[in-house]
Symmetry: C2
Subunit: 632 residues, 2 copies
């Protein structure tokens, strides 16, 4: 078969047995599942420092108090999710853990929270990346929305080709970002030690303005809540375990370790270096605004080639952090669909073994968010992180129940320790969720608080629909035959040609009772003449040769169609036949011309196809529709 | 049945017998078919005067020499078309006349010319109207294109409801325009006579600049060619005779008379009044530009309420002159389609007895023209009128041949007179066509010269397609039966439910040879277990009860589908069966769930419908596709 456009865009169709080939290892897993978590290190510390701006220079003394609990929380999450991956090596997402341990409602809560966060992550990641790009290159400013949608399209297409290729496509910027900033932070620390705490920056960061407020617990809590955005995406690995190759647990653990350790090091390192080099966040509306990472790179390495490489990797990682959602969202939707809470299309692997309905749905939803907000991040950020921490909490509580249930059976001591770790995780993430909700409620978190139950209600409604349908479809009696006579077969007939010849022949092999139905579209006095002519022609052309061959010919029936639509009169005829021959089915046979080229659609009215669809839609209990295709 | 959105927008479905009700008389015919011709009186004289601008004030002495032959030509056309209408009272368009008298090629020439002119008329009329509107109200300038497309949509919708309603909708501005300008010109003539030739204008027209050229034949010919745009649309009545109620010829004649007489009076009157009041055309790019009709109204009646009523009627008539095309274009396309030169959809009357494919096609084509030219008239005008005069000429030549053929038989004297009139018409319109082509060739008429043969080639290609198809479809042998055995019926089967029960029952009434086909979508080692389980379940649930009832059960066939698409493996199975049982057809029966609500489409994958379409598209010579619909 020749390469089609689809083949070129999406790659060749893959067989089921190629499933294994599509699995990834830890090296591809880090970009595929860690971009969200790692990319957020570029805005998490900055968001925390921004909240602290009213403190003035003293904020640098406090940033440690904000970042330290975030890193501690990250460590707890790391340990918790290691346990989750081991306990659920096939798929350890919050949805599965909650469903198996806490029941359907909790699992739908986790699913709704996850879906919201995945969609938000796409919109926020891409718009933040494009925002950073356009603030470096103001000439691109008018194209913000177009750039956002263009990047979305590229990411979506890469994911429609499949995870493996997408993983490699995203690996370069990820590892470039990690190397650049691990190196920068490390070199900054060395110089700090050499200079005894406060080295001279290569390029001095902007001076920090005087403070207008004293530190308060509420301010620190808000800074903490803002900084917690750095942790979104940590759950992606547990949710995507199914994508790893064997040994699954080891590859997933390695991926999680690389992500969490580098994220933790980056967060802690940025906090320390910011203090040493006196880097404060700036209000984004200030002219000459520089992000914390831009200040940091300038202070440590100056504005040479390394600066541009590092900043380009930030842009790329931010834009591509959307990819984490493209891995996670279709997987969670597939699981929910397999349980009957989402349309089944979400669970169907396409030609590339990708769950493309989920990919497309995510693309469309995120695209609509980008369109609605014009590609501007600021209004979306407060909605962010609520879903992630809701997921964390539900997942940890589920794991606590899991260990509790397992406990009495075996390894009581080890399981008690595991239970303790997950309980600690549950309590800390719940507290963090409370802080985030309180700190961000008015700014937009309330939208998520409303959206989560709305989505849960929709999922339940879908489930109810499928359950009721399958109840109605269930065969309750043993299989039996209630009719044995061949059906009455109606053949739509206008004039004799090879199509109708073929249709009549086929009808006569199906049943001895065949009617050729001719629709009269005219009205008025000319009709009677027509009727005679049509009968005479049919008798001569069809009936006579059959009678001569000793076979009973089909009967010709003329049906007036005064409104030019033909399905109505046909269905009336079917009703009449149903009344005359109760217990016998009626089959309508429609000769259909097969069109081989797209342009033929312009030359044919597709009346047969329209009639077939109309009859199927109006279908009575004993009606069958037969198409006899004829290739010209 | 409840009113749907379609019912509200387009009106209720009409029966064939209501055909007569939709016919119009002369009073509705004038707006329906005359808007184009009458509206062009507002730009015809202006276009001629614009060409004469280089002459300075002397142009007013020459305008009579330009308008007089145009009025004379109009009179000749009037007489010619009266004869055409009487000779072809069912449909006297150039296409019919040419086909009956000159053959297929000439008729396609007329058809192509007519189609081009109808499409151009829509674009030119609407954009000229909107141009006049926005030069009165400059605030609307930025919305030019949107206004054009909005008016196009309104006109199209009115025409999709049907001619009768559209006729009345357009009657008010037409008759308002006629009354206003007949009154204005009449009153202007009275004042001219009273003042002895040159009355004082109420509001003085702008002074006429000095001339830079002397009058030359070439300039006068170019002015004549420009003024000929006033005659476009005169053929509309002859082309739309079929829309008139009985007595057709009388109503059509009256309509043609009203249109031609008022158009002639307006043209002549405007020329005389322009001379008396010294109204010269202005360059449209001059600041403070005023159209000739605006100058005329101001000079005769001042800038009172009458001025605004008259100018509003000009705007309305220009915009709605597009309507003439909406009456004519679908009719000519229908005739061409009935002869097999256009897709048959053009000849199908819709729920409102309108040939809506033509209406929609015209709307889309004209909309694309408006989009391509941004709603700006200037570039379209030179293309205009070529088509109309080409049509006139072909039609008159056809009529000459018509009288020539009829001549010897009866009324020789009268027919000779008629032949003379049409011959005069043919010669004069041919000369005018030559002048128009020469004068406008470089400015854009060459596009029409290229487009006409291109469209003719397309029409011929379509005709060739239909002819060849109908040859291939023609049944050459007498009807005979070549097979008598019932076909092998394959039923797609996944698990037992009421759908599959029903499908199997139906299959068993059609043929003793029924196969339940179960597709295996898995690959790998788990398959063998599955295969056993599926067989066991089928034996228990379906086969056992049938055997107990003494009937032969369907056979279960498992087909692997490694690429998750199911039509490929199914068609391979069909091929195998075809080889095993030559001469017997194969029918594939697909149980199908009927969806009753639009939202159900989101919840079902429509796999059955997709499979059915794929099988129909791949159809082999002995394959039938049976759908057994089931309503939940």
């Amino acid at each position: 078969m020749a390469m089609t456009l689809i083949d070129i865009l999406l790659g060749r169709r893959l067989a089921n047995r190629e499933q294994g080939d599509q699995k990834i290892g830890w090296f591809a897993g880090v970009p595929a599942m860690g971009l969200d978590g790692l990319g957020s290190s570029s805005y998490g510390p900055e968001a925390a420092l921004t909240v602290l701006i009213p403190l003035g220079a003293i904020r640098l003394a406090w940033i440690g108090w904000v970042i330290a609990p975030i890193v501690a929380l990250l460590a707890i999450l790391y340990l918790s999710y290691r346990q989750t991956i081991r306990a659920y090596p096939s798929n350890g997402g919050a949805y599965t853990v909650a469903r198996e341990n806490l029941g359907a409602t909790a699992s739908l809560l986790a699913a709704a929270a996850l879906m919201i966060d995945y969609v938000l992550n796409v919109a926020v990641g891409i718009s933040a990346g494009v925002g950073a790009l356009t603030s470096s290159l103001p000439a691109l400013q008018p194209w913000t929305l177009e750039l956002c949608l263009g990047i979305l399209a590229v990411v979506a297409l890469a994911n429609l080709r499949g995870t493996r290729e997408a993983g490699w496509l995203f690996a370069v910027p990820t590892y470039l970002f990690l190397l650049s900033f691990m190196g920068l932070v490390g070199w900054g620390l060395v110089r700090m030690i050499a200079a005894g705490g406060h080295p001279d920056p290569v390029i001095a960061p902007p001076a920090i303005k005087h403070g207008v407020e004293a530190a308060s617990l509420w301010l620190l809590l808000r800074a903490f809540a803002a900084g917690c955005t750095a942790m979104t995406g940590v759950e992606a690995v547990s949710n995507g375990v199914g994508a790893f190759r064997e040994p699954v647990v080891r590859e997933a653990h390695r991926t999680l370790t690389v992500i969490c350790v580098t994220l933790g090091l980056l967060l802690a390192g940025i906090a320390v270096v910011a203090q040493g080099y006196r880097l404060g966040a700036m209000d984004q509306t200030t002219p000459g605004y520089q992000s914390v990472l831009s200040q940091l790179t300038g202070a440590i390495a100056g504005h040479g080639a390394l600066y541009y490489v590092a900043m380009a990797s930030v842009l790329a990682v931010l834009c591509l952090s959307a990819n984490t959602s493209f891995v996670g969202f279709p997987r969670i939707c597939r699981l929910v669909a397999l349980d009957g809470y989402l349309p089944r299309g979400f669970a169907v692997a396409d030609r590339r073994l990708v769950f493309s309905v989920g990919v497309v749905f995510l693309t469309v939803t995120a695209g609509m968010l980008l369109l609605a907000f014009g590609g501007i991040t600021d209004r979306l950020i407060p909605l962010f992180a609520v879903g992630a921490f809701l997921t964390f909490t539900v997942s940890q509580i589920g794991m606590v129940v899991h260990w509790h249930k397992q406990g009495p059976r075996k390894q009581e001591g080890r399981n008690a320790g595991r239970l303790a770790i997950n309980a600690l995780g549950a309590v800390t993430t719940a507290v963090a969720l409370g802080v985030i909700l309180a700190a961000k409620f008015v700014e937009g978190a309330w939208i998520v608080v409303l959206a989560v139950p709305a989505i849960m209600a929709l999922l339940v409604a879908i489930h109810l629909y499928y359950t009721r349908l399958s109840e109605r479809m269930a065969a309750r009696q043993p299989f039996s035959i209630d009719e044995t006579d061949a059906p009455t077969v109606l053949v739509t007939y206008e004039e004799r040609n090879r199509l109708t010849d073929r249709a009549l022949r086929f009808a006569m092999t199906l049943s001895p009772d065949v009617l050729a139905v001719h629709l009269l579209r005219l009205g008025g006095p000319e009709q009677e003449e027509d009727v005679r002519a049509i009968h005479a022609r049919f008798d001569e052309e069809v009936a006579a040769p059959l009678i001569a061959a000793g076979r009973a010919p089909p009967r010709l029936v003329l049906v007036p169609a005064p409104y030019r639509e033909i399905e109505g009169p046909l269905l009336e005829l079917v009703d009449r036949i149903d009344n005359d021959t109760p217990g016998r089915s009626v089959a309508i046979l429609i000769p259909e011309l097969v069109l081989r080229h797209w342009w033929q659609r312009l030359l044919h009215s597709r009346r047969s196809a329209k009639l077939r669809n109309a009859l199927l839609a109006h279908a009575g209990p004993r009606l069958m529709v037969i198409s006899s295709p004829w290739r010209s």
